[in-house]
């Protein structure tokens, strides 16, 4: 009886099919913001589908929701997706969503002008074991720097992006690797200086910061919904490139609705310019991410990501 109710009530409200989607109120999740602001997903899926939005502030929480079966489709960083998959989450990456969109900034009094100056400094990332953390460790490795826990001199701290401005102004942190719009805001409001632009962080900016994942069970049962979702997603990516101003307005509206705060137009513009919305996935960089995560000690073994990446390739 309970089981019947749980599955019954969870999947359908009345006769409608419920699709639950998780994403963050964040510029790197731009395609989701645009899609929901302009009701593009709802229009394409039709009136027989009820769309439920769930917003999260960090990947691990969204991953928990996916594992618990409370979210069907999620916009998430590749690292939480890999971590969840390694632990046994039954999910697949079905599309890319955004590449780049993160910058390395340093405080004005930190004396940091280039990556090599990070030695002996405190560098903040939004969360340990997230995409920015892994990117930072990759940069350190390229410059022969090490973090304190590995016997090096760079202290990596996890700080919520919203707290970074304050900690910069009090010289509690020297640098930060943050996704947009935080990077632009730190430059504008905390007088932080860009050390690495979005396309200098890694691989000319051609690395995923947001991907779309879905529960395999959902993919198997509702292939037509997934197909439509990805069609809309590809349209949004094209539209954002063709009509950037309209797309920005939509993002701004959705962010205002979700967070109650409005981003200044110029902040939003420069934040969006650092992102590259996409529908492509580059399996090689995702595998590279997994290797870095393993080298950072977050993963106990080098995972085989075949299952995670095995969703039928784009036509």
């Amino acid at each position: 009886m309970i089981a019947l109710c749980l599955t019954g009530c969870g999947k359908t409200a009345g006769h409608k099919q419920v699709v639950r989607v998780g994403y963050f109120p964040n510029i790197t999740h731009g395609p989701a913001l645009i899609g929901f602001a302009e009701k593009r997903f709802a229009k394409e899926l039709g009136s027989s589908v009820e769309l439920q939005e769930k917003t999260f502030v960090a990947g691990p929480a969204l991953m928990e929701a996916l594992i618990a079966g409370e979210v069907d489709i999620g916009y998430i960083g590749p690292i939480p997706a890999i971590n969840g998959y390694v632990q046994g989450a039954d999910i697949s990456i079905i599309s890319g969503a955004n590449n780049g969109g993160a910058v390395l900034v340093a405080g004005e009094n930190s004396g940091i002008k280039k990556v090599a100056d990070l030695a002996g400094k405190k560098v903040a990332v939004p969360q340990f074991a997230n995409t920015q953390d892994i990117s930072l460790r990759h940069i350190l490795k390229e410059h022969n720097l090490k973090d304190v826990s590995k016997g090096g001199t760079v202290e990596i701290l996890q700080v919520a992006p919203a707290d970074m401005q304050l900690l910069f102004s009090r010289n509690q942190i020297d640098a930060a690797l943050v996704p947009e719009p935080w990077g632009t805001q730190l430059v504008k409001d905390a007088k932080a200086r860009i050390i690495l632009e979005w396309n200098e962080v890694w691989n000319n900016g051609n690395y995923p910061t947001t991907v779309i994942i879905a529960r395999n069970e959902f993919i198997m049962n509702k292939p037509e919904i997934i197909k439509k979702w990805l069609e809309v997603h590809r349209e949004i990516v094209k539209y954002a490139a063709a009509e950037p101003e309209k797309a920005r307005n939509s993002m701004s509206r959705q962010l205002k609705k979700l967070t109650g705060k409005e981003l200044k137009a110029e902040t939003l513009k420069s934040a969006v310019e650092r992102c590259k919305f996409t529908a492509e996935i580059d399996p090689a960089t995702i595998r590279e991410f997994a290797t870095l995560s393993y080298e950072a000690g977050y993963l106990k073994f080098k995972p085989n990501l075949t299952g995670l990446l095995s969703y039928p390739k784009e036509k």
Binding site: E64, I67, N83, G88, Q127, F128, A129, N130, K300
Partner: protein
């Protein structure tokens, strides 16, 4: 001996039930790890030293904070017990402050001290201080009148009466306060570590969450519970028992 065997069997039974629930497959293994996986995580964590480092770090913070809490708590408690003015003024404030969970102070602590040890030590000390004050105060105030009368008959007065009779008589209550303060500080520390940065048990637990590694979360929970249990059993229960026996509060 008998009690130990019973306890052992009880825990064995718990683990068996845990394994059975796991085997029943109600929740997916990623949500509900098996005792074996958790055991493996515990083993690996101790072998690669990461758990030992975290425990050392957490206990270090706890000891510093606890010392601060006990010193401030006993001092303020004695003052409150001795001087009516302080009791009427500071006392009312303490009652109010006691009802604020110490983790609520974290945002302020982060602003005042920054993202570092000091902030966590601050909230952990707060966690223990209020209880320590209240218990010391109660101990000082509730010295049995018969003891006071006897002491007075024997000529003890003023400060002498206070330091040689009232304070020793308050010791059982102070010890209870120390035990409670330890538990409160331990909780405050975990809350602080979960929300802050650095190393420690709370941080390892959060890392488990970041990695979607439920077995790490459960392993850290077990460690936290065991440390709390060990400290309570090995230190405070014995001290408390001894004091009670000395004061004739326990008839053996």
């Amino acid at each position: 001996m008998n009690a130990r065997i019973r306890r052992f069997l009880f825990y064995l039974l718990l683990i068996i039930i845990w394994e059975l629930v796991y085997k029943a497959g109600i929740w997916s293994p990623i949500l509900f790890p098996s005792p074996f996986t958790v055991g493996k995580t515990l083993y690996n964590g101790f072998v690669d030293n990461s758990f030992v480092l975290a425990i050392t770090c957490s206990l270090q913070r706890l000891l510093i904070s606890y010392a601060i809490a006990v010193v401030i708590g006993v001092a303020v408690g004695i003052l409150m017990g001795k001087y009516k003015v302080i009791d009427e003024t500071v006392g009312s404030l303490i009652v109010g402050l006691q009802s604020i969970p110490s983790v609520v102070w974290l945002p302020l602590a982060l602003l005042w001290f920054g993202m570092n040890e000091k902030a966590i030590i601050f909230i952990t000390s707060l966690g223990g201080t209020w209880t320590m004050i209240v218990n010391t105060d109660t101990g000082v105030k509730s010295v049995p009148p018969i003891i006071l009368r006897a002491a007075r008959t024997m000529g003890a007065k003023g400060t002498k009466l206070f330091w040689h009779v009232v304070i020793p008589a308050a010791v059982p209550s102070i010890i209870t306060g120390m035990r409670l303060a330890w538990a409160f500080a331990w909780r405050a520390l975990m809350a602080g570590e979960l929300l802050s940065s650095g190393t420690g048990l709370g941080q390892i637990l959060m890392m488990g969450r970041n990695l979607s590694d439920m077995s790490q979360i459960v392993a850290v929970m077990i460690i936290i519970g065991m440390i709390g249990c060990l400290v309570d059993n090995l230190m405070f229960k014995k001290v408390e028992l001894n004091i009670r026996r000395r004061w004739g509060l326990l008839i053996v």
